[in-house]
């Protein structure tokens, strides 16, 4: 993935110099290991800091909402699907975007790396081909990328951008033998009481910082339901029922729109796996409405259309 850095810099410079775009959105290398910072470049001379590696796990589509300029932007599979969703939802126009596609091998789960080195402080990580070397004060260990992918990347079925103006590499073969919903199926097998316990424990650490909501390109409402006061749908404290209500409604608002990019989980300071909510909806939309979000900017999303013979078994 590192090899893309040079290509990105080159492309951004060209697009900016030729005035094909007003700004270019990508990543720069972070100041701490395993963190990269989204970056907006508005001049070819500033493009040299653009960077790409397996820790670019945020969703750049987040930075597009309601922009009015012409934007060059990097997109891997999931990010491009969110761009398609943004186009469908009129948050950006297709002709405002110059999408620079990157076939994505998946992002590395930073928490798994910390666990693998037993919580010792990581000072530097060097990526080399299919491996990466983790360096600390008195240790150095090499790991295989494939074994440390974020759980959403490990089961990703759309690694190549679905929408692009230019590709920086040859498309990767898509994974077809993966089951993206294995963890959801396990929960579905539980009885109600176990499910309640599972989800109550899952969110027990939540501090209501809303990093999950804000890292999500789908969340762009001018006023979020958590901030509504007449009526107030959900309390503001860390009461467990209020926290559950927040996570439930946040997930439900992503129904038929979530691309499982994993940004919500990646950014959570408390390590909460809130994709256990959204993935159930992804599974249901796929099973009931044969829909995966963001594959085609021309297609209306599942809650915006209907079929007379839709699933009706649950209705008396």
């Amino acid at each position: 993935m590192l090899k893309y850095t040079e290509k990105i810099v080159e492309t951004a410079k060209r697009l900016l110099a030729e005035e094909k775009v007003d700004v270019f959105i990508g990543y720069q290398k972070g100041t701490v290991p395993m963190m990269n910072e989204p970056l907006l470049v508005n001049h070819p001379d500033k493009a040299d800091t653009l960077y790409w590696d397996n820790f670019c796990g945020l969703n750049l589509c987040n930075y597009l909402t309601k922009r009015t300029d012409k934007i060059g932007i990097i997109a891997n599979g999931c990010n491009s699907r969110n761009m398609a969703t943004h186009i469908i939802e009129n948050q950006i126009k297709r002709d405002q975007l110059y999408i620079v596609g990157i076939p994505c091998e998946g992002m590395i789960d930073h928490r798994a790396v910390v666990r693998a080195v037993k919580n010792r402080e990581i000072l530097n990580i060097v990526q080399e081909g299919s491996t990466f070397v983790v360096k600390g004060k008195d240790f150095e260990e090499t790991f295989e990328k494939q074994k440390f992918l974020q759980s959403n990347c490990a089961v990703c079925r759309h690694r190549n951008p679905v929408l692009y103006d230019e590709m920086l590499g040859d498309p990767l073969e898509e994974q077809t033998d993966v089951n993206p919903y294995g963890d959801i199926e396990k929960i579905e097998e539980m009885d109600s009481e176990k499910k309640q316990g599972f989800f109550q424990r899952l969110i027990s650490r939540c501090i209501r910082c809303y990093a999950c909501r804000n890292s999500c390109p789908l969340c762009y409402c001018p006023t979020c339901f958590v901030d509504e006061s007449e009526p107030q749908w959900v309390g503001k404290s860390i009461d467990p029922t209020d926290t559950l209500t927040f996570h439930f409604l946040r997930a439900y608002h992503c129904a038929g729109r979530c691309t499982d990019c994993g940004a919500c989980e990646r950014v959570c300071p408390m390590g909460i796996s809130m994709r256990q909510f959204t993935k159930k909806l992804n599974k249901d939309t796929e099973e009931l409405f044969s829909w995966e979000a963001g594959l085609d900017p021309e297609k209306r999303p599942p809650l915006d259309v209907y079929r007379p013979d839709d699933y009706n078994d649950f209705i008396k």
Partner: protein
């Protein structure tokens, strides 16, 4: 003041007996990270840790705290009358707290407990606490306590300071409260060799903090010029406006007050709030003086590194714990922003 040395086993044993006179809080391994929790039941503290994910400010200043309660039952004589919610202000001891987080309490104290204003809940909680600090032998690369008036073995604000000397802890009482705490622990008095080892440990640890975060020019800057500095949009670009930095920060003190009614029972609760949220500054009229993301990001840094500096003349509102540096989802690094502000001409 007393200095005592005891083995780590003796310390663990002592903690068991200290549960009687104190409500004990300590760092407990909680999944992938550590959290300060009450050491009741079978909860064992783990002192072999860098720092807790959430700062121990949660003990003195919980994320959600009931302030008052009231009845809406008209048949009650005291319907509609706010009554202060009962709290446990019995002595508590926070063991293993890092000096940066204690320094943070000193910073927050200037806001919550000063001649003009005393926050009763914060003050009572704080005064009930004995702070038994544990010096940092191995500060993180993202720590910069020495740059903001603290240090890995900084003593100000602590009642007891522990030095981790391998098999033993050296405990140094720093206040009367600390003396009383140490009296309850068996141990030997420390000889000169031990004190020398502790001093060496302190010095080597301080040297490990290599970050340079200059703050010396901040007080001389013209506020409005910093406010209008050209770098804010750039600094703020990546920001998600989540509350991670403010909620993990040991020195962020802002809160919002909400009334909640359940049946005929009413509660007035205060919850942490964050200047990163648009609602934080939204007026009743609908106007929002900080409607834009960059304005909110600017507010956070200006408050910590300029307004606080000018108002209290006691350094910056940052203890250098490095939590926001490590856990900001988009890597907005206060060290870099501080440099930008300090060097701004």
């Amino acid at each position: 003041m007393t200095e005592k040395i005891f083995t780590k086993e003796e310390w663990s044993g002592a903690l068991e007996t200290l549960k009687e006179p104190y409500r004990l809080f300590g760092p407990v391994k909680d999944g992938d990270f550590h959290t300060f929790m009450p050491l009741d039941g079978d909860k064992k503290p783990d002192f072999d840790y860098e720092n807790s994910r959430l700062s121990p400010k949660t003990i003195i200043y919980p994320e959600s705290e009931r302030m008052f309660e009231y009845s809406l039952d008209e048949t009650d004589d005291d319907a509609h009358i706010l009554k202060e919610s009962p709290k446990d202000y019995s002595p508590c001891a926070i063991v293993g707290i890092r000096p940066c987080d204690v320094h943070a309490f000193q910073i927050v104290k200037r806001n919550f407990d000063n001649p003009e204003y005393q926050d009763p809940w914060w003050t009572e909680h704080f005064e009930s606490a004995i702070l038994v600090g544990l010096g940092c032998n191995n500060p993180c690369a993202s720590c910069f306590c020495t740059q903001v008036g603290g240090g890995p073995f900084h003593e100000t604000g602590l009642d007891v300071l522990l030095f981790d000397l391998g098999d033993n802890f050296l405990a140094k009482a720093l206040t009367e409260k600390g003396e009383a705490f140490l009296e309850k622990i068996q141990g030997e008095s420390a000889d000169d060799a031990v004190l020398k080892a502790a001093e060496d440990l302190k010095q080597s640890s301080e040297k490990k903090i290599t970050a340079k975060v200059p703050t010396d020019q901040l007080k001389d800057k013209v506020t409005i010029e910093l406010f209008d500095a050209p770098f804010w949009e750039e600094v703020a670009f990546a920001c998600l406006n989540c509350g991670t930095c403010t909620y993990l920060c040991p020195t962020c003190w802002c809160f919002d007050i909400q009334d909640e009614v359940s049946g005929k029972q009413g509660d007035r609760i205060r919850n942490w709030d964050s200047c990163m949220f648009p609602l934080f500054s939204l007026h009743g009229s609908g106007h929002n003086p900080r409607a834009e993301k960059f304005q909110r990001v600017r507010q956070r840094f200006m408050h910590k590194l300029k307004y606080y500096v000018d108002k209290y003349e006691n350094g910056v509102q940052c203890s250098g714990c490095g939590r926001c540096v490590r856990y900001c989802p988009v890597n907005i690094d206060i060290r870099e922003v501080c440099k930008l502000m300090n060097d701004f001409a």
